[in-house]
Amino acid sequence: MKYGIVRFPGSNCDHDAFYTASQNGTAEYLWHKDTTIPKGIDCIILPGGFSYGDYLRCGAIARFSPIMREVVTFANRGGLVIGICNGFQILTEAGLLPGVLLRNSSLNFVCRDVFLSVANNTTPFTSALKPNQIVRIPVAHGDGNYYADNETIAKLETNNQVVFRYSDAEGRLTEAANPNGSINNIAGIINERGNVLGMMPHPERYSDDLLGCSDGKAVFQSLELFDKSNSAKMVEPTSY
């Protein structure tokens, strides 16, 4: 799988996403001022960080970057997109995902390991995981409190669009296990079409055994599986 890692001014997990993506597939950087996406990119990652300083509102300025128009087109044509942390915030601002990420309920930035319960393993990003499998992946954010109106939440739940939920080590969806106050312990969601994932935890940070945990690698392994099964079926699924 070929990944395109978007670098916004203020992205700071761009190196990490690049490093992990290239351990699992191949990767190249995409620049925020670019107006085209090179041919052959299968999956675009919007990495974590503080794009444009997160001034005004997290992700609110990044969505107006020239590259974002291309990312939206890419996604609308079925290309795979992952937004991690700040990337998730940008996806909601860009309208590719519903809802919004509010300030953490503690009002503090929080960096710690959390357990995630896999709510949907039928996506291209989670097929290497089992239903309700528990994975340990870190969060690091000040604004990760997922919020949407009741109707949207109900729709997300009905459509099975919640992909990850914060849980304890046994998979219980407790308040204590929720690091930021997200509704229904939501940690990651997917769009209706199933090709755009947004998640606050950082799978790219725990993808290397040397760092003590590699549970995050499953996301990249899932994408490789998807790539293999697709390349058998389709020719250039995302070319346009």
Binding site: P9, D16, G53, Y55, N108, C111, H202, D208, L210, L211
Partner: protein, 746 residues
């Protein structure tokens, strides 16, 4: 007495010795300036001298002592003080740049921005050299947490550090936080950063080549931080300090992130002749230091400097400490390369002058020349004053050392919980979870005695880093306190499996004109020097912060040490927590002394810091560290933890709290009989857990190194038994992990 011969120079205000005094210069210093110039300085010139000759920039009262430290040798690539940060050869063509610096006074006045810009400043020191910052640490000191102002300062400082480091994208991986009454009005905020650079691809803070353009990069210049270095950082606190808030700078980590990327690309492109960040004393410090270093001069037109408001005077522009700015000398003819890189990163770059070859800094504003100063006369190592200060043993020392205290062993259990939950000892989780400790995916462990980081550029290798200073020891015995700070920092990196190679230091003291304070300073440096020589960890640089006092009351002498250790093989490292039940618990090192002086136990018992600092035999320490490191590298040790604040009882409790799963300890009754065995802070001890099959090999290794090695108990599941203390790992964790948060949030 001096002729007013400034015919071609313009002065906004007529200068007299009174003006000099208002800017913090002494009459003698004013006379010296007139002598150097052969005339009365202009107002802008006087402002420049006042900051360049301030304690903060000139080290005038400390440099003679600093020169007694071992400042070269080992793996050092530049001598201490030569560049913005120390540089250590780590082999295979790479080097580590690291430095620690204080931002105490700004943080006392405005904790959020003070701490944030402290982090910003130290990060700039690292990347100005061409190194990418890969780790940040901070060493903090506050008053007692029962005070609302202390809570305000702590929350502000922690938010400030997180705000800046998290956004910039450097993992904050370690540090220390102490609470003692002496820091109530004068907290300490010491920020440290570590970066990695290829050898030979560093940039130097030098101006050479007449005609080369001088560029200012980054943010525009405003009226913030004027006289931060001279009037705020170089004098003590009084009732006017609140009014100094406008001298504190305002940080913008996003601007710094762009400046980082642009700077590294500029250096890599080969168009940079020299570069220096603008921290303390802004444009005047960077222009004069870079010129002096290159035996060059500069001609600067302030009308070209991008300003945040119109009409700023030459004085204000020269002294502004607006953040996120760099001064760069670019090779003539390569301006277009520099411009393209800065445009890519949206970093403003403006040519404001050029290098000259006559050693004179000339500054122009509104078409008039306002400054003409020999660069050399301004800087440390050049014409800046150097003072010999008198010292005298403080009168409190005999009193505190001979103080009597009554130990009641029936209180041991109660004292254990008191000590374990005191904010100085308890978990700092509430603080460190507010810092991103993992960005850049190099962080291997932050829960051991030192942070362990891998080096992606050198697969298999890593480094360990920590900060350390127990200022109570330095208060009771400045010489030994200085020595212990170095020894303990080295012990900490050894405990994770790294070889200590060099230090950076941040020396926080009171008013150097007070002979008793100067004694503390001189003695602490003597102790540090002896320890650094013995442990072969030279001093790469650092910073001195004097005038940490308020209402005639100085802080404890606090010589904070930042220690760097190297790891040859990242698969051979250790954590502090127990790893398997059935493992044997042993103490390596000193087993002959029993002391309680300066301990947290005495603090909890009497409310005071009493006794003498623990004994330290530096040769014994060195043998212990060598033996432990060899044992870790040979895979003989399952876990290692320095026995320090709170003594053996706390070291064992922490090993249980940090254990894999829920592992406690059962300690033989003879090792927890009395308070000094439990809580004494005897030096040169490392508590380890060892698989039974490795005991014999470890004993042999210890004998070879002439290091004592005593079995004291076993690792067990769930329970913790030591002397009269019987509890569970679950309860230890609950109390230890929640104590600080409860104390802060109430």
């Amino acid at each position: 007495m001096h002729e007013q011969s400034t015919h071609h120079l313009y002065s906004e205000i007529n200068v007299t010795s009174e003006t000099a005094k208002e800017l913090g210069l002494t009459t003698a210093e004013y006379e010296q300036i007139c002598g150097v110039l052969g005339r009365i300085p202009t107002y802008t010139e006087l402002g420049i001298y006042s900051v360049m000759w301030s304690e903060h920039c000139s080290y005038k009262n400390s440099i003679l002592q600093l020169k007694t430290l071992p400042r070269s040798g080992g793996r050092m690539l530049v001598e201490a003080g030569e560049e913005n940060a120390g540089l250590i050869d780590i082999g295979d063509g790479y080097a580590i740049a690291f430095k620690i610096e204080s931002h105490n006074h700004p943080s006392a006045v405005e904790p959020f921005q003070g701490a944030a810009t402290g982090v910003g400043g130290i990060l700039r020191d690292i990347f100005t050299m061409g190194a990418r910052p890969v780790a940040a640490l901070n060493s903090l000191r506050f008053g007692n947490l029962d005070n609302d102002h202390t809570k305000y300062l702590l929350k502000g400082v922690v938010h400030g550090i997180g705000h800046y480091g998290n956004c910039f994208g450097v993992p904050t991986v370690g540090g220390e936080v102490y609470f003692d009454e002496c820091y109530t009005d004068n907290p300490l905020v010491n920020a440290m950063a570590v970066g990695i650079v290829k050898v030979g691809e560093t940039a130097s803070a030098i101006a050479i080549g007449a005609g080369n353009p001088v560029m200012i990069l980054g943010s525009s210049t405003g009226k913030d931080g004027i006289h931060g270095a001279s009037l705020l950082a170089s004098r003590e606190f009084d009732e006017k300090t609140e009014d100094m808030r406008p001298t504190v700078q305002v940080g913008d980590p996003f601007a710094e992130k762009l400046l980082l990327e642009a700077t590294l690309e500029l250096i890599a492109s080969g168009c940079v002749v020299g570069m220096q960040d603008m921290g303390a004393a802004g444009i005047c410090c960077s222009t004069s230091e870079m010129s002096a270093k290159g035996n060059a001069g500069m001609s600067i037109n302030l009308d070209l400097v991008p300003l945040r408001e119109d009409g700023m005077s030459a004085y204000e522009i020269m002294l502004s400490e607006s953040q996120e700015r760099m001064l760069a000398v670019i090779e003539k003819g390569k301006e277009h390369i520099a411009r393209a890189i800065c445009e890519k990163w949206d970093v403003p770059m403006t040519e404001i002058g050029e290098v000259s070859d006559d050693g004179i800094v000339r500054v122009f504003r509104f078409g008039k020349q306002v400054v003409e100063i020999p660069a050399y006369s301004l800087v440390l190592g050049g014409g800046a004053p150097v003072y010999v200060r008198e010292s005298r043993e403080p009168s409190y020392i005999p009193t505190v050392r001979s103080a009597e205290f009554t130990v009641d062993n029936s209180l041991n259990q109660e004292m254990f919980w008191k000590i374990l939950t005191s904010p100085t000892i308890a978990s700092k989780r509430w603080i460190y979870e507010q810092y991103d400790s993992q960005v850049r995916t190099n962080t291997m462990n932050i829960k051991g005695d030192a942070a362990v980081m891998r080096i992606k550029e050198l697969p298999g290798k890593g480094f360990a880093v920590c900060t350390d200073c127990n200022s109570r020891y330095a208060y009771l015995n400045p010489y030994r306190g200085g020595m212990i700070a170095v020894a303990e920092a080295a012990r900490n990196v050894v405990c994770v499996g790294a070889e200590p190679v060099a230090i950076t230091n941040c020396l926080n003291f009171g008013n150097p004109y007070d002979e008793e304070v100067y004694y503390q300073f001189k003695e602490a440096i003597r102790g540090m020097g002896d320890a650094c020589r013995a442990l072969e960890t030279p001093v790469t640089g650092g910073n001195v912060s004097f005038h940490n006092q308020s209402r005639n009351h100085a802080i404890f002498p606090t010589p904070t040490i930042g220690m760097l250790g190297l790891i040859e093989d990242v698969t051979k490292i250790t954590g502090s927590g127990f790893r398997a039940s059935g493992d044997v618990i042993m103490i390596l090192g000193n087993s002959s002394r029993e002391e309680l002086g300066g301990s947290e136990y005495i603090k909890q018992l009497t409310g005071n810091i009493l006794g003498d600092a623990p004994m330290l035999d530096i040769d014994e320490e060195k043998r212990l560290q060598k033996a432990t490191l060899t044992a870790i590298r040979s895979g003989l040790i399952h876990s290692a933890h320095d026995c320090s604040d709170g003594g053996l009882a706390i070291a064992l409790a922490e090993k249980a709290i940090n254990s894999v799963g829920s592992l406690g300890a059962e300690i033989n009754s003879e090792f927890g009989k009395n308070a000094s065995q439990l809580f004494g802070e005897m030096q040169s001890r490392i508590v380890v857990s060892v698989q039974p099959e490795h005991i014999d090999s470890l004993k042999v290794l210890c004998t070879e190194h002439t290091v004592d090695c005593v079995e004291i108990g076993r690792v067990v599941i769930d329970n913790f038994t030591l002397g009269g203390i019987k509890t569970t790992v679950e309860l230890l964790r609950k109390e230890y992990n929640s104590a600080l948060e409860t104390a802060v949030l109430g």
